[in-house]
Symmetry: C2
Subunit: 313 residues, 2 copies
């Protein structure tokens, strides 16, 4: 059972008796480790497709027990941290075992499709599902990559449903706050439009550039002269193709809208180049440089404020 | 005068009595510092538009004296490290003072336009000009950003002219080798095509994305959720707008060709998205991921080999 919310200020975070995590890799594993480090959970049960991965997670102290869909019975909180394409099937499996007091959330990078899957799979129990998206990651994957500090200072976006009770929402928020994350709230459509622009499109653009170059007859020569700018620009093209295939399809409409806006922007720049219009090009480049500098300055100010709050130096 | 080439193996590098550097910021300043640290030059004279910058370079020990275009008279080597758009005017200024024994090179990011400018400015003395492009940089600029190790292990591309003597070419190569750089040779057109693909296009794409987002009504919201992937992808959009305007115009034809190839690649990906063709998207993403992984592995192997040669750990 969950500890009750208290009205004292600051509101104490809820703590948990049993949490079930579907998918014990980087995202689910880091969540479990952080809650354990915060002494916010008594027992973590791991569920997954591969017994070997679950055993590694158990030997690493990420999970206490290996379970299955029936383990959600009697749990306080369930996190789905599997690839988004599996969300609906997993929710269908666990739905029959989902009791009234259990809250379910997920960690998917897209939210519109997850909400649709959850409504289809959970039916009447949809009020117990609070969709979420932690904005954190590493290049490594699997239980060995999990870190208790992965979410510290990072954002977690909740896209709460009209059916969710404030109790369910604060249950999920509490868990992420124990991990050190900041809670943000967006609508699912708004979330998907935002991440199409600042994450999903850049991934597609980076994959497109590397593949464009790799397909050339002189690819070896080209890569030989690619330097640190190219390395940073294409870092995200090192991400998992399966994961980004799923995200691209799950957020197809918003991604297409962003791709079209970007292609229009490239046409504008192309026309400036054709006209040798240096002033117009410089104007765009300068506006981009100053927007990026302002953004970096804001990030650094937020990091400093957080360090100060934590009593660091 | 230059030390003569010797036939002993390994060939000793030439050393220099007097070098003149036009532009004493990051690129020219690092060149001067590296040659001094290698004891490869007796005197470095700095030339530039702003007296204050030259004085700072002198007080930092980058240059020994402040000079002007007449200082090239009697110099062994001249490096033009000013913005590419100034190359022709600088070469016209120094041409009357250029004696037979002096070799001139540059550090411009584009080469076709520099060769054209050099032919126009130097006329009969064109054989003394060996075009060059050091592939190194930092985000900071100015004399304070100069580092003697900036070029260590980096590539310098020379795009030698048919008129250049092997002596002139080896003079320029020697200077960069003293800086720890590896010498590569390409034709000027080949150089410009390669760097349009792996450097100039990525810069344009990064500027275009940041500007596209910055121009939106909800730009603040979008930037708020931009994370480390976006940060790396757009790092090069923090570069100097003036410099990249000049490079875009100087290498316009090759950049337009690359932009068109990239736009065609985006159309292909768009069609896959419209058709919800996950297998085709994953194929492109996977090809890009594996090409990038192979490239990174090759860079790391080269770095290890270099560390081993230098007797490091």
């Amino acid at each position: 059972m969950l500890s009750p919310m208290q009205s004292a200020s600051p509101t104490p975070l809820q703590s948990f008796n049993r949490i079930v995590v579907f998918g014990v890799g980087l995202i689910g594993g880091s969540f479990a480790l952080a809650l354990k480090q915060a002494n916010a959970v008594k027992q973590v049960i791991g569920v997954g497709r591969r017994a070997e991965t679950l055993q590694r997670a158990q030997s690493l102290g990420i999970i206490d027990e290996i379970g299955d869909a029936t383990s959600v019975s009697g749990a306080d909180l369930v996190l789905i941290a599997a690839p988004v394409a599996q969300t609906e099937a997993l929710l269908r499996e666990l739905a029959p075992h989902l009791q009234f007091g259990t809250v379910v959330t997920d960690a998917g990078s897209t939210k519109g499709d997850v909400v649709q899957a959850a409504r289809a799979a959970l039916g009447d129990k949809i009020a117990q599902f609070v969709p979420g998206h932690p904005i954190a990651g590493r290049e490594q994957n699997g239980p060995e990559a999990a870190l208790p500090e992965l979410y510290r200072g990072k954002k977690v976006v909740l896209t709460a449903l009209p059916e969710n009770s404030s109790y369910s929402i604060s249950t999920v928020a509490s868990a992420w706050q124990h991990c050190g994350a900041q809670i943000h709230h967006l609508g699912a459509d708004e979330h998907d439009a935002v991440f199409a622009a600042v994450s999903h499109l850049p991934h597609l653009l980076a994959y497109a550039l590397v593949d464009d170059i790799a397909a050339r007859d002189n690819a070896d020569l080209l890569f030989q002269y690619a330097a640190s700018g190219f390395r940073d620009f294409t870092r995200i093209a090192g991400s998992s193709p399966e994961m980004w295939r799923d995200i691209s399809l799950a957020n197809r409409a918003a991604l297409l809208a962003e791709l079209d806006a970007y292609t229009a922007q490239l046409s504008t720049l192309r026309a400036m180049l054709v006209a040798s219009d240096g002033a117009a090009l410089e104007h765009v480049y300068a506006r981009a440089q100053s927007a990026r500098q302002a953004w970096i300055a804001a990030i650094e100010a937020a990091e400093q404020a957080r360090t100060y709050q934590q009593g660091g130096d």
